[in-house]
Symmetry: C2
Subunit: 217 residues, 2 copies
């Protein structure tokens, strides 16, 4: 019953997986909910509870086998095999995304990149050529792409999202600094660097730029 | 006693703030933990518990005043006034970050950008000129910068992080796909698009590229 698992639990699984991948890289064979929790700042009870939604992965007292749990999480998250993705927007960010090595390493393959600017269409980025956004609907269907990344300016993002969904996309990662309206059956996630910055400033000693300037003036 | 608040609570506050900012933009005056929870996929009890770490912000039955709670969260997160940030790496991602409008809107100001490539040093990005990374230590101290974003290749990221910390940086947002070792007193956050993708594939119907190809071949 996958739908009975809370969304917030699903969102923690990739972090468990990343920690396990790092352990595996370092040759570690066994871990515990305590160790995973310490690494991730999550209680060991929460980790055991999260994993219990999907079965029995460890034994009381002996912990988890790193490689087994890693494989199970990959299976649960459905990332054992390649997923194709489309990127919309061939600006600086689009270039950076097409060239990002972290996708291919973790079974995501950038299959195509679109832009609406005629000057960009046809230009190469890595091994791809920028495709014409006016052909996007047809191309998404041809490639049967379910996952797309929006890297266009905020003002165009909603239109792009609607086109992607019409083309069959069911999961959108949005870099544009705007909240998008999508139907319930479409997954959407946001990449927002400011959210990450805001949780760090809490820990910084408060001496704002204005205060500094007031002192130095 | 700020240090007694769990890290995971601090990490949820920016999401509460973002939801409140959106409500304020739409002219909404009052909200509830229930409404916030529905928007964010977090239980209303969790939201009330998180906020109770910092005081009493709403009344039983009448909910929260959007503008007041928003201001309080800004104060708690110490983001009422501008923070200067430095970006390291003037590649595609560095360009995108310097030009990202979402920083300035939310009180972060990109004050400088560094690169180690002599061909990039001196070139303009927006209103900035790329500075020489060999001068970074001195420049960070001159500008008294506490927050930096790493946008360099993975192989250089650890060296850059160490230089930033030596220059006085206390909060690092890392885009390089590598885990960095930093002292306990330094905050570090990661931007990893794959983590976001992995929590969406769970919800997609599983028909991997290999399966599709096997069918079409």
């Amino acid at each position: 019953m996958p739908n009975s698992v809370p969304n917030i639990v699903i969102h923690r699984l990739p972090f468990y997986l990343r920690a396990l991948e790092m352990m595996a890289e370092n040759g570690q064979v066994v871990t515990s909910s305590q160790e995973l929790g310490d690494r991730l700042g999550i209680s060991s009870a929460q980790i055991r509870k999260d994993l219990s939604h999907f079965g029995e992965f460890g034994k009381q007292g002996t912990g988890y086998e790193v490689d087994y749990l890693r494989q199970q999480l990959r299976r649960i998250l459905k990332i054992e095999a390649l997923w194709g993705i489309a990127i919309v927007g061939a600006g600086d960010l689009g270039h950076a995304l097409v060239n990002y090595a972290g996708f291919r390493e973790r079974n995501f393959l950038v299959e195509t990149v679109f832009d609406m600017d005629p000057k960009k269409v046809g230009t190469p980025i890595g091994s791809l050529k920028v495709e014409d956004q006016s052909q996007m609907l047809q191309r998404l269907k041809e490639l049967d792409i379910k996952i797309a990344i929006i890297a266009v300016p905020a003002r165009n993002a909603q239109t792009v999202a609607e086109l992607l969904i019409e083309g069959g996309v069911r999961a959108i990662l949005n870099y544009a600094p705007i909240t998008l309206n999508v139907p319930d059956e479409v997954c959407i996630e946001y990449i927002d660097p400011v959210i990450a910055l805001q949780s760090m400033t809490y820990y910084l000693e408060r001496e704002s730029m204005e205060q500094k300037r007031a002192v130095s003036e």
